[in-house]
């Protein structure tokens, strides 16, 4: 598929749905980019698993304090009103339903909301981190991902074939082609790229895309970095 959104554009689109006053956990890597595109005027508090609420941007090079890091082990800074806490409190915030939104990456998302995002096979060193916890408890669990794999295969599927991270946990998927909700009916298409026709989108999607009323155009700014 030639016309598709960049990761920055997917992150921008996901950021538009972050509500004012919300508590948000952004997964390590690609999802972290979303913070950059947080719309102005919205007050958002970011949570990181290792015990910080209200962290801000990365410090300037040379200004790092390595006791002040995020879950990706990157140095961060603090915003006014920040708080530190231990790991059990941190995951109480996660599992206890206190976060409004968690955003993760994905290898596969199934039409019932199952997520596979921690390992693709049995080789190598397995590592799970906080992903299996983060998919439980947040009011919304969103995924940002390319719509297809590097080989062009579908990442949105009927049933995950990779090891699961969580069962029935994903509520919305932001892809390089579309915005899709996971509902009791399965995948419901909310937005798609303006010039992408339904058949083409369905052909790169591994499960049925349902529609409910009008499918909106997925419009994002052109030059994002």
């Amino acid at each position: 598929m030639k016309n598709k959104l960049s990761n920055a554009q997917i992150a921008w689109r996901a950021a538009q749905d972050i509500e004012d006053g919300s508590y948000v956990n952004l997964g390590i890597g690609f999802p972290e980019m979303i913070a950059k595109f947080q719309p102005e005027g919205r007050d958002v508090t970011y949570h990181t698993e290792n015990g910080v609420l209200g962290f801000g941007k990365a410090p300037a090079e040379g200004e790092e304090d390595w006791d002040l890091i995020n879950a990706g082990k990157k140095a961060v800074t603090l915003n006014p009103g920040a708080a530190f806490f231990h790991h059990a409190d941190s995951f109480a915030m996660v599992r206890g339903g206190h976060l409004d939104l968690a955003v993760l990456g994905a290898y596969q998302v199934a039409q019932n909301g199952d997520l596979a995002n921690w390992r693709v096979g049995s080789k190598g060193v397995p590592a799970v981190g906080g992903a299996m916890d983060l998919v439980h408890g947040a009011r919304r669990v969103a995924v940002v991902t390319d719509h297809v794999t590097k080989d062009g295969g579908p990442k949105l599927v009927e049933t995950c074939t990779f090891p699961l991270t969580g069962v029935g946990c994903v509520t919305r998927v932001y892809t390089s082609l579309a915005v899709i909700d996971v509902t009791d009916r399965g995948f419901v298409l909310r937005e798609k790229l303006p010039r992408l026709d339904m058949e083409a989108l369905q052909s790169v999607t591994g499960a049925t895309l349902h529609t409910e009323g009008q499918v909106a155009d997925l419009n994002v700014p052109k030059d994002l970095e």
Binding site: I69, H86, H87, V125, A127
Partner: protein, 239 residues
């Protein structure tokens, strides 16, 4: 009551072969580097302790701290959530060669298992890992229409932790996100050994600011101006 010990070497002398040790920290943040290196130095001199089970969020990074323990050959098993750090060669080599065992635990479950042990709760239910391969063989139960996995407490013989301020009776504070697993591990081990950056008499910490009460701490050793693991890793230091 005076829980202070004179040196890090002195603090780790009683850890035997085959012990299970919790080590605080998340990556380099809050990692008790000097205590770990004292243990490695003891192993290099005496061949003991070996066959250790180490509990930490990660499995070491670079050539210092837990990575150096693994490289030295002291560690038989890691219990952690994320062994794949930026430079986890030490663990990777041993793991892929089948020379070290791994129990992989979701990060929140790891924290809660440790907390439960410290609180005297032998098991609890969590939604984390339900329906995944990490829940295989574990009892499950439905509560209010949702499925949960039963997890056991996680105890240790020793905990090596790092505080910021400490007093002679073992009250501790922590520096920024260096808190992470440290207060939980302090509760969950038979013997908790804390290195602190500033040691003072009782009263030096405002009781309102105490994070770990001294009842959870058995030994305190001052390491003024401690090394920071991440800084050492970035400098390529090898212990």
């Amino acid at each position: 009551m005076d829980k202070t010990v004179p040196s890090v070497a002195n603090a780790v002398t009683q850890i035997p072969d085959g012990a299970t040790i919790m080590i605080g920290g998340f990556g380099g943040s809050g990692a008790p580097v000097e205590l770990i290196h004292a243990l490695i130095d003891r192993y290099r001199t005496t061949g003991s302790p070996s066959g250790l089970t180490v509990i930490n969020n990660n499995a070491g990074n670079g050539g210092i701290g837990i990575a150096a323990m693994i490289k030295a050959g002291m560690v038989a098993k890691m219990i952690c959530s994320f062994p794949r750090s930026s430079n986890a060669e030490a663990f990777n080599e041993k793991y892929l060669a089948g020379e070290i065992a791994l129990e992989l635990v979701p990060q929140g479950t790891l924290a809660e298992r440790i907390r439960a042990a410290g609180a005297g709760i032998p098991a609890f239910y969590t939604p984390s890992s339900y329906g995944t391969e990490l829940a295989e063989g574990k009892p499950t139960e439905e509560f209010d229409g949702k499925m949960y996995v039963r997890e056991r407490w996680l105890k240790a013989d020793f905990a090596l932790i790092k505080g910021q301020m400490g007093d002679t009776v073992g009250n501790l504070t922590y520096r920024m996100a260096g808190r992470n697993f440290n207060p939980l591990m302090a509760m969950a081990a038979d013997v908790t050994i804390a290195q602190v950056s500033e040691l003072g008499r009782p009263g030096c910490i405002d009781p309102q600011q105490v994070i770990t009460p001294g009842i959870f701490v058995d030994a305190v050793v001052e390491v003024a101006d401690p090394q920071q693991e991440e800084v050492l890793v970035r400098a390529g230091v090898v212990h």
